[in-house]
């Protein structure tokens, strides 16, 4: 069944990718015929496609994982304050020009920010956090980070800096290249390996907390490894594309509605569908004839928020 699923997914992804690569200004290009077109396909559109896909995968995997371990269907990367923490430190680094010419180190700053918010989370929630405790702590951390971000934007030295920061916060994969893909890929690899390593622990979250505690896991260690994985995934995404909401929330819900319930399957299927979803949304961003190109995070929110309402109505029925 998994082989079938993967086969069908690959086929759809390839078709969407082909459709995506041909999209651009002017006539649709079915194939890069000239050297210039080839360069555009390989240097601009392909990295953007891969960046969108990897971002979708990272955010959806992080979202599905958080929903499972927090036993809360509304959990998403924003909830633990990790994305906001990463964003605050990145904004500060850009604002004060800490890195100068070494902007390649930006993901590390993002991961540091994500890890810092995780540490604050740890100090609030304790070393063996219950799900509800973790959510409350996450909301507090996210609110603090949001307040800091507002201060930074408020104190922006000039309107251009303000605009640049707020546009970046909206989330986008436009005007990026292979360097951003190389920033994100190691984070996705780290997160993926950690999630794979802890798959038995994540899978056991179908049970209530007391049963789970009796199943022979080193709970604190396993929990923090999983949270580290989520941090790496989210920080990588924030660094490479800003804040893109809703994908982490919507992708797992779509997979659940399609009948995937087992935690282990839910995570990787959500990841793959999240990737596909974000590629489709980014294709929409490129295709919509707006005066200024819309930001990916904005379009994801415009589509995702109503979808969330529909889903919630369906669940409550």
């Amino acid at each position: 069944m998994n082989v079938k699923w993967l086969g069908a997914y690959t086929l759809v992804l390839l078709l969407v990718a082909w459709g995506y690569l041909g999209l651009g200004h002017g006539d649709y290009q079915w194939w890069p015929a000239t050297a210039l077109q080839q360069q555009i396909w390989l240097e601009i559109r392909l990295p953007r496609l891969i960046l969108a896909w990897l971002n979708g995968c990272a955010l959806a995997a992080a979202g599905a994982t958080l929903q499972i371990i927090l036993r809360n269907p509304l959990a998403e990367p924003g909830l633990t304050g990790v994305s906001a923490g990463a964003a605050v430190l990145i904004t500060l680094a850009l604002y004060f020009g800490w890195l100068g010419a070494m902007s390649a180190w930006l993901p590390l700053v993002g991961i540091l920010g994500g890890a810092l918010s995780l540490l604050v989370l740890w100090s609030i929630a304790g070393s063996q956090p219950s799900a509800s405790h973790l959510i409350l702590a996450g909301v507090a951390v996210a609110a603090t980070a949001g307040a800091l971000m507002a201060v930074i934007l408020n104190l922006a030295p000039n309107p251009f800096a303000y605009q640049e920061l707020s546009l970046w916060l909206m989330g986008s994969v436009a005007n990026r290249g292979w360097s951003q893909v190389l920033l994100l890929a190691p984070c996705v690899a780290l997160g993926g390996v950690l999630l794979w390593w802890q798959r038995a622990f994540i899978g056991a979250h179908i049970f209530d907390q007391n049963t789970l505690m009796s199943l022979g896991f080193n709970y604190a260690k396993a929990m923090w490894l999983v949270l580290l994985a989520v941090t790496a995934l989210v920080a990588g995404s924030v660094v490479s594309a800003g804040i893109i909401g809703f994908i982490g929330l919507i992708a797992p819900h779509i997979m659940r509605l399609l009948g995937t319930q087992r935690p282990s399957e839910l995570i990787w299927r959500s990841a793959f569908s999240g990737g596909l979803l974000l590629v489709i949304v980014d294709a929409l961003v490129k295709w919509l004839p707006t005066r200024v190109e819309l930001h990916l995070g904005v379009v994801a929110a415009v589509i995702g928020a109503p979808l969330l309402i529909v889903m919630l109505k369906r669940y409550s029925r």
Binding site: I206, D208, N210, S214, F217
Partner: protein, 249 residues
């Protein structure tokens, strides 16, 4: 001595000076609501930190056991065990094998438990669609996977019909006779009297009595602790309890 509890204090809830169980048997933990039954079982399972004292099971200090080692030795069914994800019964039990060292193949263990608890008809149904009693049977089956030497069951029969309750008690009794120490928290005093080799009667976090059912379930204790006047009906088939509430003095 296979289980020895000494000067045990659990978070201001339960205090036990001494409790010793010499051999594998079926031990019932009884007491009114809030007397500390679940707290005691959770502490024995190693889930609650002990404020002081020690629990020794065979040669092990339970609070010093690593999670993995505890998993092999002790199985635990919490009072409010629940699966809220719509996975199938088969998937629940498969997941219940996690971290267990099995003497046989996983498929054989699952087939045996499906047979023992008559779960074959429910096998591929989502657990969230089952009735409360059916879900409880799956949970009990989950706690019976593996070959733990001590089984802790917190009101395993809650939500089960009388036939399944008796079947469950027969099963737990048989397991205890095969060398497992089974400790089960019960509200049904007749079932406790009928099946258990020893009873621990808890009252306000303290052991009010420990011994055989006949020694523990005296009229005076039932009146003082449960506030009932009891009449017992016993024959070879079973035990029933007729109870009348005493006026509160």
């Amino acid at each position: 001595m296979i289980l020895a509890i000494n000067q045990l204090h659990i978070a201001d809830r339960v205090a036990m000076t001494q409790l010793q169980i010499a051999e594998p048997q079926l031990v019932g933990v009884i007491g009114p609501n809030g007397s500390g039954k679940s707290t005691l079982l959770a502490a024995l399972a190693g889930l609650l930190p002990l404020a002081s004292g020690a629990v020794r099971f065979k040669q092990h200090d339970v609070s010093q056991l690593g999670a993995e080692q505890r998993r092999q030795l002790i199985s635990y069914l919490p009072q409010t065990a629940a699966v809220t994800t719509a996975v199938t019964v088969a998937q629940v039990l498969q997941q219940g094998l996690v971290n267990l060292r099995l003497p046989r193949s996983a498929d054989e263990v699952l087939a045996a438990v499906a047979d023992e608890f008559h779960l074959s008809a429910l096998w591929s149904r989502p657990i969230t669609e089952l009735s409360g009693g059916e879900q409880r049977r799956v949970q009990v089956a989950r706690a019976c996977l593996g070959a733990a030497e001590m089984g802790l069951f917190d009101e395993p029969g809650s939500g089960l019909d009388i036939g399944h309750q008796l079947e469950l008690m027969d099963y737990l009794k048989a397991r205890s006779q095969r060398g497992q120490l089974i400790i089960v928290a019960l509200h049904d005093l007749a079932l406790a009297a009928q099946y258990c080799d020893r009873l621990v009667l808890l009252h306000e976090g303290q052991v009010a009595a420990f011994g055989s059912p006949a020694e523990v379930l005296t009229d005076a204790r039932l009146a003082a602790i449960f506030g009932i006047a009891a009449t017992w009906l016993c024959n070879d088939d079973g035990v029933a309890l007729l109870a009348k509430r005493l006026p509160v003095t």
